[in-house]
């Protein structure tokens, strides 16, 4: 009888979280081994939305590749575009006009705010506070409207091209961005009132899912997930691109490494992004919106790598060129894939509800993981 009891006690209760599950934010499948409510082991299974984007890129020209990078992390679409554009410009030695740099910086930061807004929505929803979802989406709508006016798209715009931009900004752009900043500076404290200061939210996130600095570095957790553990990994500071060496901004770092630290990093980054935009929006110089480019781009033979700071961490593009108009080999270093890999380090020992909160704070976008 005691043997039987022991055997039953050792058995684990295995459940499949996903591929269809409300809190995996897409088609991620997590196989959980449970002991009561406590998670013993998490095994992420990716590949449910694998589209072979890297392979497809080998048969596309450099201008066409831009359109596929949108479909990786669709919430930071512009920043992904920028990575490919910067890589091509670096390889060809093209200097883009000053106006383009200004516009790219502003749009990248707007994308970051929009992405963090959506993260806030879904984080609130993961914790069970459904009202957050609508507040966040309401404000994200303002940014999407600005994008729609200028780029013609709302989610995946493919606005950047190698050498510059697809078209010039809309005449209303500056005014609307300034209006938005004014509006959002008033609204952001409301987010804190609703969620940040909440007792239940703090109890659910403080001390949960601790990621140590060593683990963050060895797993390559970048972006807010890494900076929550004190890992100074902001590509905008380390390898400035666009105008990031000219503007003043702080790299947000928190040392705790728990869910709440990752939350605070993102909340503070929204303030920083707004201040970056404010520094630039009035000074956009006149000029061309694109450098002179040949219709067919051929990169000289060699290997190229370009990294940018996407909303979720370091996004890198590696291209091996044999001198054709198509790349020979393309590899994307997606931030979410590395961030997902820390899951089994920080989750075991926590409860199912904590797993959901941790997943929300890592903010993974599944198409970016599977590519």
């Amino acid at each position: 009888m005691t043997d039987l009891i022991q055997e039953i006690e050792q058995q684990e209760y295995i459940i499949n979280m996903g591929p269809q599950h409300p809190s995996t934010h897409g088609v991620l499948r997590l196989v959980l081994s449970l002991k009561g409510e406590i998670v013993k082991n998490v095994e992420p299974h990716c590949g449910y939305i694998h589209r072979g984007i890297e392979k497809m890129c080998e048969k596309l020209t450099y201008q066409q590749i831009i359109h596929l990078t949108d479909r990786l992390d669709y919430l930071s679409a512009h920043i992904n575009n920028a990575a490919v554009c910067l890589l091509v410009e670096k390889a060809l030695g093209i200097e883009v006009p000053e106006r383009v740099k200004y516009i790219r910086t502003i749009i990248d930061e707007l994308t970051r705010i929009a992405s963090h807004q959506l993260w806030w929505c879904s984080f609130g929803m993961d914790l069970g506070g459904l009202t957050c979802f609508f507040y966040g989406l309401r404000d994200r709508e303002h940014i999407l409207d600005i994008f729609e006016e200028t780029t013609g798209g709302r989610l995946i715009q493919s606005y950047y091209t190698p050498g510059g931009l697809m078209k010039d900004i809309h005449p209303n752009f500056q005014k609307r961005v300034k209006d938005f900043i004014k509006y959002f500076r008033k609204i952001l404290p409301e987010y804190d009132q609703l969620l940040t200061g909440n007792v239940i939210m703090q109890a659910r996130s403080k001390g949960i899912g601790k990621l140590s600095l060593e683990d963050a570095i060895s797993f390559g957790a970048t972006g807010p997930s890494g900076r929550g553990s004190g890992f100074a990994c902001d590509v905008r500071k380390l390898h400035p691109y666009h105008l990031y060496d000219k503007v003043n901004f702080k790299e947000i770092l928190y040392q705790e490494g728990d869910t709440f630290a990752r939350y605070k990093v993102r909340m503070d980054e929204m303030w920083e992004s707004m201040s970056i935009i404010e520094q630039l929006i009035d000074n956009i110089p006149e000029g061309d919106f694109t450098a002179k480019m040949k219709p067919i781009i051929k990169l000289p033979e060699g290997e190229y790598y370009q990294r940018v700071e996407a909303a979720r961490g370091e996004f890198g593009v590696y291209i091996l060129s044999k001198g054709d108009k198509y790349p020979y080999r393309v590899k994307f270093r997606s931030p979410n894939f590395s961030n997902l890999s820390i899951l089994n380090t920080i989750v075991p020992g926590q409860k199912i509800a904590d797993l959901v909160a941790i997943g929300g704070s890592l903010d993974y976008v599944i198409p970016d993981i599977d590519r």
Binding site: Y13, I15, H21, P22, S23, L34, E37, G124, M125, D126, L127, G128, G129, L130, T131, F133, F134, Y135, R138, L194, L195, N198, I200, M201, A203, R204, K351, I352, A353, D354, V356
Partner: protein, 362 residues
Amino acid sequence: MDLNIYDFTSFTKWIDTSLHEMMSPFWVTACEMTIIGVAILAFYAVVGLYLVYAERKICGFMQNRVGPNRVGPFGFFQTIADLIKLLIKELVIIKNADKFLFNIAPFIIIITSFLAIAAIPFAKGLHAMDFNIGVLYVMAVSSMGVIGILLAGWSSNNKYSLIGAMRSGAQIVSYELSVGLSLITMVILAGSMQLSAIVDGQAHGWFIFKGHIPAFIAFIIFIIAGTAETNRGPFDLAEAESELTAGFHTEYSGIKFAFFFLAEYMNMFIIASIAATVFWGGWQPLWISGWDSFNHVMAWIPPFIWYISKTAVVIFIMMWFKWTFPRLRIDQLLTLEWKYLLPINLFNVLLMAFIVLKGWHF
């Protein structure tokens, strides 16, 4: 016969005597039971449907939305349309489920919430059953709902459902204590367990004002524990759609799902009714000592309106909870009950007993 909206006693008496003139006592009882059953069923359906509508509207306004606004004026018939949709939906049969338990679980839940309504005084004389142990009866009946939830989770043959049911079991059994003790605090003040006597005792000042601080603490604990007992708001761990998809009712479809849904809203209504009855004077109007003309105006408003509006306020507070707070974790939920609410409650009972003994209440 005269239908007096301030006192239904003569009206119900008239029905009773006129039935007695027509038939034998056995058939009178049968007839009266049928009338009450049909009346309560109709009330139940209407309240259930319109609570769903109210929740959708209120949560809509809290979330910068309009809520349902297409079917009828202001979407007033939306829930009826939803009910028809649910009625004609297919009932999915689950493989390897325990068929008998799976089918009986929604009925257990809905019957228990239905039973509790019988004891609630809606207005003077409008009372299906006036037990002398009314408070005990309501608690006993409403705590039986957990059996339905446990059966639903167990028989669905779904791992998420089972976790949801186990959570719900732990939660409801724990919070039952707080609900009971906070009601006992008020029973000490009222000196009776009969709900009609409790209401009558509040003709000159509601208990929440009469009972000083202990009554107020008891009210707050009752609202928290009551919300937890209905599996709502920040305590909806049994459903927890971001963790367990839909918890114990994941596998239910069509009208069986609607039963769970309706029962949740009716449980909320019952908890709100009890809160209004025990703490806020039920159908008694607001009475302030010395303000005679004010008291006259208040007494002019019919008792049923008083009862419904008090219940509505409590329901609104519970909805407000739900749409503001994130969800608790299971260990935090149990910590809140066993380490905070229960000791406070036990002390509160003693305090109330002391105050009543000394005669310090108003």
